[in-house]
Subunit: 231 residues, 2 copies
Amino acid sequence: MKIEDVLERVPMFKGLPTEQIEALARIATVRTVKRGDIIFSEGQDADGFYITVTGRVKIFKVSPGGKEQVLHILDMLEPFGEVPVFTGGRFPANAQALEESKVLFLPRSGFMQLVKGDPSLATNLLALLSMRLRQFARLVEELSLKEVPARLASYLLYLSERDKGTNDLELDIPKVLLANVLGTIPETLSRILARMVHDHYIRLEGRRITIIDRGGLEELAAGARAASEQR
Amino acid sequence: MKIEDVLERVPMFKGLPTEQIEALARIATVRTVKRGDIIFSEGQDADGFYITVTGRVKIFKVSPGGKEQVLHILDMLEPFGEVPVFTGGRFPANAQALEESKVLFLPRSGFMQLVKGDPSLATNLLALLSMRLRQFARLVEELSLKEVPARLASYLLYLSERDKGTNDLELDIPKVLLANVLGTIPETLSRILARMVHDHYIRLEGRRITIIDRGGLEELAAGARAASEQR
DNA sequence: CGGTGACTTGACAGGATTCAACAGAAGTGG
DNA sequence: CCACTTCTGTTGAATCCTGTCAAGTCACCG
């Protein structure tokens, strides 16, 4: 597939005139990465940003002890690593391919010129960054204000909502990764899932989860006292 | 003071032509708030954003149980509540005045037009939002990957750095608020400060803190094992 | 078939919150 | 100016969640 065709489908570039798409395509380069490959690391000098073409990428931070916190999981056609394009300097986090993926690299120079020249691109970007800020605000809220069961409940409800309200969910990521998304570790996740099963909130078979008490999950997510209340 | 003069000094509007400053001034309104006043609440419909003129404002989230997590503390001439300007919809968090303050309100309509017309304003905004994203990434890292002593150590070092590396710090916020910034509660903060004093990292008199072991603090901030190691 | 990765479970320790009580500072009003 | 309330900060004891350490199962792959 031609790069132009990819760029055209990127939401961020919605409404860009063809010639500018072509200009972008000329400066873009494709990079193929294998599962587990690091695309960039925190602190690394940033001279451009990326867009996923196929595959998925996680953005994450690591503690000195090796614990991970996932900030984003990016699907197809989502830009990432764009922050240092506007602030200059270095990448604030790490990016790693979850699967064999193709990513597009757009060098900073040239891109900035384009932004300056095209107000609709600029406002698209403002919308994108604002959306990210919203997500972060929610993430901070979850991490700081809620306990793990509440976060997990939120996540399950989010999955359900994303699929038009089904009760039959299928985790599309391994549980280790889910744990890191939720800001915890696999062991804890495992236990809380078990507890939720025991308390008849959900049914669980491997990565298949069925919601059987949506109301209960919603209470949990809202921060109600933990499951298995036993006062 | 005239509104134009204020707007001119706002970093975000750096380099804007005078006539556009004047256009902004025409749509802006001033609002005076007392200490503790809520400027906007999470979920409230957003039809514009704010800029601090005098005083300070905190942006925060609240858990159902009443615990607070502070996202930002804004000094003079800093914009806030700007996210929904670009995403539409509602405010993602609450804003409350820490002191008697004057804030400027800029309605969304009109502002967006200005953004579309002025590329340098747009890039200023992109830089602003990107900076915020960076801060959030760091906040998430602190909350998720570090324990309270490490966060406190980071914060103290940050204060020191902000004042050109002094060892004599003066907290400009009450400790309750600092606790909420660090994602904890006053009791815990109090104890950890006491421990740091006991371990000769700092000296403490009310809100005056003197760093006496910077290296030690740096280790703590990096995530080394907690103070008062006693294995 | 040995080996690696994903996942689970148990025992345990430890950090942090909760509940409670209290002292000092600050601000209010008579 | 003093009594009183409120705010701020500190300390103690008990509890709980969560992470750590360790072991073990199951599935999949070379």
